[in-house]
Amino acid sequence: VNETGETIEQKTETWALRLYVAGQTTRSVAAFANLKKICDEHLPGRYSIEVIDLLVHPQLAAGDQIVAIPTLVRKLPEPLRKIVGDLRDTERTLVGLQVRPASLTLGGEKAVHGTDA
């Protein structure tokens, strides 16, 4: 684990992220802007964001079992993780994405959940 809480493995991995939005609603726009900022700061040059507009492709919601919008899904590295909301809390998002271990930032309290694929 390095100084930012990442494992050496994570440091070299490419993060494949998928953001589910509903057109350009306020929260969807905010989620995208917040995610971009977080990735640029913490995963510079090694992330990709795929934005899926469920207003255009509602059938794609079933695959990742999306119920609320916006929702961010970490496809890679595995296991798959989901974060619901507009990502306004950077620390909680970092923990949710497991960029930073929960114990190092929030005193062991898990703020977001993860689920195995």
Binding site: A22, P58, V67, A68, I69, R88
Partner: protein
């Protein structure tokens, strides 16, 4: 194969339930914090998205429907939101614009300026004009207003973009229109000037013909033989012509009195008379009509002097002088004095020349001409207000006349 009720199966089931519980709790928390604004509902035949109608919904609709372009840019300049108008302006679908850097659509030579505009916009509202470059290479002039978004957007800025194409076309049309009006005004002024010149020319031709007619009529009636009449007429015509030549060379704006007197007297200064006619006076610019009248009067005086006066003898002479008296009116005074000629006698009758001398100047200048037949020599004085003599422009002057009864 894992049996559901085996110890390993129960453990896996428990972990799965814990994950689902956490997921449900996280979703509930996001809803409570108003961090979501749409839900996906499974309706059997497929999923459907339901939007939450928040307080900002009317504003979203307003921004989506407004004619101006609107966008939110992240700290790195990438587009996190844009409305349909901006997408149409750039000729790119909204979904392609989201996430893309806006500066990619700005003319290369203006990107630095745009970046400076963005930097300034993060602290205070700013405005500037740039050119967008569409995919097909066409450029669109736009006015961009930049303002900072709220803090939780992490350095994001909001842009409103106005297409200036129509405005520019209107400005160009306005400039063309103004140029047309200016040329129209110039043409009108030129036409007016041309009409004025035509009027002026007509006036002068009519006046000249009237003067020539009067001269011919009186010369033929008052001069002895036909040959003498023709010679007198030619001489008068020559005097008139020399005055005209001088005025034409000055664009008919007037003439210097010294030059005029010299031109009229010139035919009488040949041979021994050369040094017998002296001219003395300050330079005054006189009106064309006054120049004509003076030339005729001086011609008659000179002709008379050669025939009967001081220039008819070998020793006689003539002094022509003028000055401006420093009285209230600033009276112009011209004096013709004959000296050293034969004794002068009062003429028995007045010929055309005498009448022209006495009456020729009055209609044009309110001047006064006096002839004094002193025994030692004729003296003619002309007094007139300087203002009536002195010329400015040839406009607004009284018509020229040569009225001799």
């Amino acid at each position: 194969l894992i049996y559901p009720f085996s110890s390993r199966g129960l453990k896996m089931r428990s972990e799965d339930l814990a994950v689902r519980l956490e997921e449900a709790e996280a979703t509930l928390r996001a809803i409570r914090e108003a961090a979501v604004d749409a839900f996906v509902i499974d309706e059997g035949e497929g999923s459907r998205v339901y939007m939450l109608e928040g307080a900002d919904r009317p504003y979203s609709i307003l921004i989506e429907q407004m004619q101006q372009g609107a966008a939110v840019l992240g700290a790195d300049g990438s587009i996190s939101y844009c409305n349909t108008s901006l997408a149409e302006l750039l000729g790119v679908p909204v979904e392609k614009l989201i996430g893309a850097p806006l500066h990619g659509y700005i003319a290369a030579d203006q990107r630095a300026y745009f970046q400076a505009l963005l930097r300034a916009g993060r602290t205070r509202k700013g405005q500037g004009e740039i050119r967008f470059e569409r995919g097909n290479g066409t450029r669109v002039p736009v006015r961009v207003t930049v303002s900072a978004m709220e803090r939780d957007r992490g350095g994001a800025v909001g842009l409103t973009i106005t297409d200036l194409t129509t405005e520019r076309h209107y400005a160009e049309l306005l400039a063309v229109n103004q140029a047309l009006r200016a040329s129209e005004a110039r043409l009108k002024a030129e036409e007016e000037h041309q009409n004025f010149l035509i009027g002026e020319l007509t006036h002068r031709v009519k006046n000249t013909l009237a003067v020539v007619h009067s001269m011919a009529h009186h010369t033929m009636r008052n001069t002895g033989t036909f040959a003498e009449a023709v010679a007198a007429f030619e001489a008068r015509l020559f005097a008139l012509s020399s005055a005209h030549d001088l005025l034409i060379s000055r664009s008919w704006r007037g003439a210097e009195i010294q030059a005029l007197v010299a031109a009229v007297i010139s035919p009488f200064r040949g041979g021994s008379s050369k040094s017998r006619i002296s001219i003395c006076g300050e330079e005054i610019w006189i009106q064309p009509n006054v120049a004509i009248a003076f030339s005729m009067i001086l011609h008659e005086l000179a002709t008379n002097a050669v025939k009967y006066g001081s220039l008819s003898s070998e020793t006689g002479r003539v002094e022509i002088s003028w000055e401006v008296a420093q009285d209230n009116q600033q009276t112009f005074q011209l004096r013709w004095a004959e000296i050293g000629g034969p004794p002068v006698e009062m003429p028995r009758r007045k010929g055309f020349g005498s009448r022209l001398i006495e009456q020729g100047i009055a209609p044009n200048t309110s001047g006064d001409v006096r002839l004094l037949f002193a025994r030692e020599g004729l003296v003619c004085t002309i007094d007139a207000p300087l203002d009536a003599i002195r010329g400015g422009t040839c406009q607004d002057r009284p018509p020229e006349t040569l009225s001799v009864r």
